[in-house]
Every structure is written in structure tokens, then in C-alpha cells.
Subunit: 355 residues, 2 copies
């Protein structure tokens, strides 16, 4: 199989962890006889420094010409005081829009070998296994108007939460499709007791559920969901929610298992290549020190193999390789908890052997 | 001291727990020679059933004529399919607006005697002690437009997040004032990398901080805050945030210590009486069974004594009485974890002896 992969390392540890993921993809190509072509593009702070723009035209073109995109992370203190349109995050928001990445999928799974790393008691978190499906191109993130104005002599600021019905429909359909292949339960999270947008969300969820008789639909208010994630995370299978709620809940969920540095994500496009990236950020505090855990990026690459290239066997081989280094006790600093001697990014990557 | 207290039991266990709180307030009045007059009003589902409206005029008048308001809880499955303006929650949202309750204060504290009830490991949650200050009358909850429309032939829905600068300023000032009396740290939570409203929020926080040189100000993105609350809740002293973020984060925080049934809240008015209510909801599943934990309502009454009547000694007496029943091992069902024999709402109230 021949595939073109756009690699956007971005900022901070983004460079180091994507390097690890590319190594693994190369090993997969060798072992299984594929040809992956890697083309590099700029995004985020690095792109601002080199081109004056957080998402240069060429990067967009590169991505659109590719079969899949691998992203590292963006952001850092250096650009924190830039004006909004010149911030690294703007690059991320723009690429979501340009590539129509309407859904972000974050699988949260419990690693028995890492259970001491979780802030939750073992009996609460044990065997939790769910996916958060976050709407990624609508809602408060992109609605207009968004800005300041003077109202009755008062300085006022406004942001707008907008959804088209079709946007709600496609993300909820995606959630149901996923649930069909999993344990058959969708938890749709909204704030229908306050927001009009949530009432439409709930209505659409009910409609869509009629087409999936084998999947159970449950509605949960966002404040309750924030509690339930901690009280009883095992109740969830597929959680679907709008952009801002998803931002908050998926980050909350990502720390439950204590394996933030291990969690991949996939952003699904309605028309072009999907984008794969680790959940963690650019971690400026440890950037450039060869200390970052490459596993989240490597598992994002596995997700690419499965979801963009339908290479299930290859994806499983990567996941199995990760499992076995963990079981063998190898740890990067984030997982070591200060106790064991830890591996560098490069050493960890080397230990992950595709067979 | 003579005081008029409006009591709004509301729905479900609201009736039972406010009854407990009123008992305790009566005991305080007896013991310390005060005269508290209790006048009852309708709100929520019960009000809908009796008057056709979730917040009748008379209730608003009653509250405005009172020195403080004690609320139970609203809501229940009976009214879940009512149209939005005839839902119990609408009564709660309306009373916030009518009484200008712009700030909701939720102290989260760790009870050593209840540490087994927390989903978090003891070493993570131990000694956590912070207050969440949530803006309560602005943002997405009340902004217009909020509704459906057709745009380019597409069915579309919109909600609006609006803040006036003075609304942001007064809540942040309140947070700083609180922090001055506590450990001197304010964490202002926003989403300044995406929202215009958050950028104004951050700007105002910086401005206000100049008037409080002894208080440290830290900004935190809401997604990160959702993580930090679980990873390291002890880092927080006073957390201040806008309405919707506050709804989500304060509910998340309320389960950390495992003592949801113990947590009070105070809603502060810019012009009239404050309102005090337990954090927990109406708990329809156990309503009318004399099983609910009255402590959150009782501690809300203590907060009323302190914050509305400046009766510090009396407030402390209530809090001390609660501490000692817990230390003596008394538990309502929610805290008993199925292990010990548990007390009814009435029994627990009787055990809390004001001395
Ligand atoms: C960087 C930021 C704009 C972004 C978001 O809020 O979507 C990030 O938090 C994420 O979740 O990918
Ligand atoms: C009932 C609901 C409208 C309310 C809110 O969202 O404010 C509740 O969740 C709360 O936090 O008091």
C-alpha cells in the first residue's frame, strides 16, 4: 500500500513525539511491505516564527494532498502574549475548519500496569473503557458575532454558540455507529434545561437513535456528566457532546486513568484526510529534553493505520508492541512516578518493536 | 436579633432537608436569644402544580421582603417533559435574576472522617480546601438571541454568551475579597485562547488584581482546570469563573471529597437578600423516604448566619455540632456506604445539638 502522510510536528514536545511515531510507522511499512511517504509542514508557534502565520497556506495544501495527517502539539509561553490571530492555537482551530474535522474521538482506556498513576481509587477506575466523541467545528468556537461592543453605554462582550441541524446529526450518527461496534450505549451530553442548542441536540439524538435500534441512548446534563466521570467512569461506552463541553469533559476524562501521556486522538473529516494527534499538549517545561512519552503519538499513528488506511493488523501490531513494553516495566518519566529509572523518548521508541 | 427568613423547600428531598435546617435555626435562635421568623414560599415543580408557574409573584415578593432566603432543591421526572418555561429549573433561573444573585459560592472541603467516601485516593484529596465562585446571572444562561432560525435554508440554533464588563468586575472583586481572608490565591478560569468573552474576563482579572497586592492571581484554561481539579485539588484556594464553566467545574469539584450531601452554597445578591441552598439536587429517587442527608442544608443555614446576619459565633456553633456528629460516627445513608446502620433525616437533625 502506498500512502502520503503529512507530518506537522508543531511546537515543544510535538517534534519529539512525532519523530517517535514516524519511526514506528516506518517500521510498520518495512515489516508489512507498505510505502509511506512523509511530508513535513509547519503549524503553530514554529510556523509563526518562520512564516508569520500559525497555519501557512502550504500546510493546508500539503494536508489536502495527503491521505492522513499526523500532528504533534502546538503552543508555548513564547507566543502567549501574541494577538489572538497570531497564536499557535489559531493554527489548530484553522486546520480543523480547513480540513472539515468535525469529530474528535478520544478513547479513554485503563492500563492495569499503570493503575498506580491514576488519582482515582483502583476500584473506581478499573476497567473503564469509553470514547468521547467531541464535535469539533461548531458551537462557541466559531460562532459569530464574537467581539466587543458598547450597549446602553456599557462595555459588553459576546460569543455565539451556533449549530446547524446537519452538524448535530452527523456527529451523533458517528457516535451511534461507533457504539454499534462497541458495547451499544451512547450517552449524549447537553444542557437541555438551559440552552436552546442543547434542546435541538437532544431532539436530533432521539431522531438518530431510531435508526440504531440495537444501541441504547441516554441523555445526561453536562454538570452531571462532569460528576459521573469521576464517580463511576465505567458506566460509559460512547459519550457524544458539543465542542466546548467536549473540550472540558475530554480533558477531565484524560486524567482519570493516570495515563495522559498515553492517550491518542483521531479527528475525522467529512471530506478529506483525517488528523491524528496525541491528547497531551506541547509541554514547554520538558520540551527538547528527550523526556516526553512518545506513546500517545505512536498510538495516534496506530489509529491512523486503522481508521484512515484500514490496516487493522498493522494497527494491532503497534498496540501490542506498546502493551508489551509497558508490561515489561519500561516507563518514561511521566509514568515512572519518580520511583523507577526512566527511559528517554528515543529509548522508549526503540523498545517498541513491531513484529 | 430579629430576622425574616424566606424558606423555599421546592421539590423532592428539598422539603425534608429544609425542615432539618429550620429546626437547627430554631435551636440557634433559642440558644442565643434571637427571633427568626420563617415564611414559606413556593418554587419549582410544586409551584407549577399549585399555581401554574415555577416562580409565582408572591414568592418573589416574599423573598424581597426577607433578610435571607433558604432554598431546598427543585426538579423531578414529573416535570421533565414540560415546555422550557414550565420547568422547575426555570424557577431557579428566574429567582437568580429577580434577586440579582450574581455570585454562587461553593466551599469544597475535605472531611477526614469521610475520606473513604471519596473516589480519589486519600493522598490526592486530603486537606483540599477551596471555594468555587461562579458567576450566576450572565453568560450563556441569559444571553439573547437564544432560539431557532433558518439560515441559507438550514435549520439553525443559537445561544449567546454575553457579559457586561461590570458583571465580570464585581464577581472577580468578590473572589479577591474572599481570597484576602483565606490563603491569598485566586485562580481565574477562562478559555481565553478561544473566546472573546474570556479575553475580557482575563483583562478585568488583571485590572482588579492591582487593587489586591497581597493576593496572587493565576489564570487557568477551563480544560486544564477540569484536569487539575482531579490531579491536584490542593493547589486551589479561590477559583472564579463564568456561569457555564462554573456549573460544570463546581459539580465536578463537589464529588471529589465524597461528601456531596454535605456541601452548602451561598448565592450573593448585589442588592437584596442572599440565598442559601445545598449543592445537591432534589434526588427524586429517595424523596419522601426520610433518608436524605440534611447536613448540606444545615451548613447552608450556618452560612446564612455568618454571611447575611454576621452571626459568626452562631455559625461556628452549627458547624461544630455537625463536625461532632460525624466524628461520633453518625451517618445518613449517602455516607454510610452500605456498611453501618444509617440515620434518617430526622434522626440526623436531632443529633446535631447546638450548644
Ligand atoms: C488549544 C485549544 C484551542 C484546543 C481546544 O480548545 O479545542 C485544545 O484545548 C484542544 O482540546 O484541542
Ligand atoms: C438546574 C440548573 C438550571 C442549575 C444550573 O445549571 O445553574 C443547576 O445545575 C445548578 O448548578 O444550580
Amino acid at each position: 500500500m502506498q500512502k502520503k502522510i503529512a507530518v506537522l510536528p508543531g511546537d515543544g514536545i510535538g517534534t519529539e513525539v512525532t519523530r517517535g511515531a514516524v519511526e514506528i510507522l516506518k517500521a510498520v511499512a518495512d515489516r508489512y511491505g507498505h510505502e509511506f511517504q512523509f511530508n513535513y509542514g509547519l503549524i503553530g508557534g514554529t510556523a509563526i516564527d518562520k512564516t508569520g502565520h500559525p497555519l501557512p497556506e502550504e500546510t493546508v495544501t500539503l494536508c489536502k494532498d495527503s491521505d492522513a495527517v499526523l500532528l504533534g502539539a502546538v503552543g508555548g509561553p513564547k507566543w502567549d502574549h501574541n494577538p489572538p490571530h497570531l497564536r499557535p492555537e489559531k493554527g489548530l482551530l484553522s486546520i480543523r475548519k480547513h480540513l472539515s474535522l468535525y469529530a474528535n474521538l478520544r478513547p479513554i482506556s485503563f492500563y492495569a500496569s499503570l493503575s498506580e498513576a491514576s488519582p482515582l481509587r483502583k476500584e473506581v477506575i478499573q476497567d473503564a473503557d469509553f470514547v468521547i466523541v467531541r464535535e469539533l467545528t461548531g458551537g462557541l468556537y466559531f460562532g459569530k458575532p464574537s467581539g466587543r461592543r458598547v450597549e446602553d453605554g456599557q462595555e459588553t462582550v459576546v460569543d455565539t454558540l451556533v449549530y446547524h441541524r446537519y452538524e448535530i446529526k452527523r456527529i451523533i450518527e458517528l457516535a451511534f455507529t461507533l457504539a454499534e461496534k462497541r458495547r451499544g450505549k451512547v450517552t449524549s451530553v447537553d444542557k437541555a434545561n438551559v440552552l436552546e442548542s442543547s434542546r435541538m441536540w437532544r431532539e436530533v439524538a432521539e431522531e438518530v437513535s431510531k435508526d440504531f435500534p440495537a444501541v441504547e441512548l441516554e441523555h445526561m446534563l453536562v454538570d452531571n456528566a462532569a460528576m459521573q466521570l469521576i464517580r463511576n467512569p465505567r458506566q460509559f461506552d460512547v459519550v457524544v457532546t458539543e465542542n466546548m463541553f467536549g473540550d472540558i469533559l475530554s480533558d477531565e476524562a484524560s486524567v482519570l486513568t493516570g495515563s495522559l501521556g498515553m492517550l491518542p486522538s483521531a479527528s475525522i473529516s467529512s471530506e478529506g484526510p483525517n488528523l491524528y494527534e496525541p491528547i497531551h499538549g506541547s509541554a514547554p517545561d520538558i520540551a527538547g529534553q528527550n523526556k516526553a512519552n512518545p506513546i500517545a503519538a505512536i498510538l495516534s499513528a496506530a489509529s491512523m493505520l486503522r481508521n484512515s488506511f484500514s490496516l487493522e493488523e498493522e494497527a494491532k501490531a503497534v498496540e501490542a508492541a506498546v502493551e508489551s513494553v509497558l508490561e515489561a516495566g519500561y516507563r518514561t518519566a511521566d509514568l515512572a512516578g519518580g520511583r523507577t529509572k526512566s527511559l528517554t523518548t528515543e529509548q522508549m521508541t526503540e523498545e517498541i518493536k513491531i513484529s
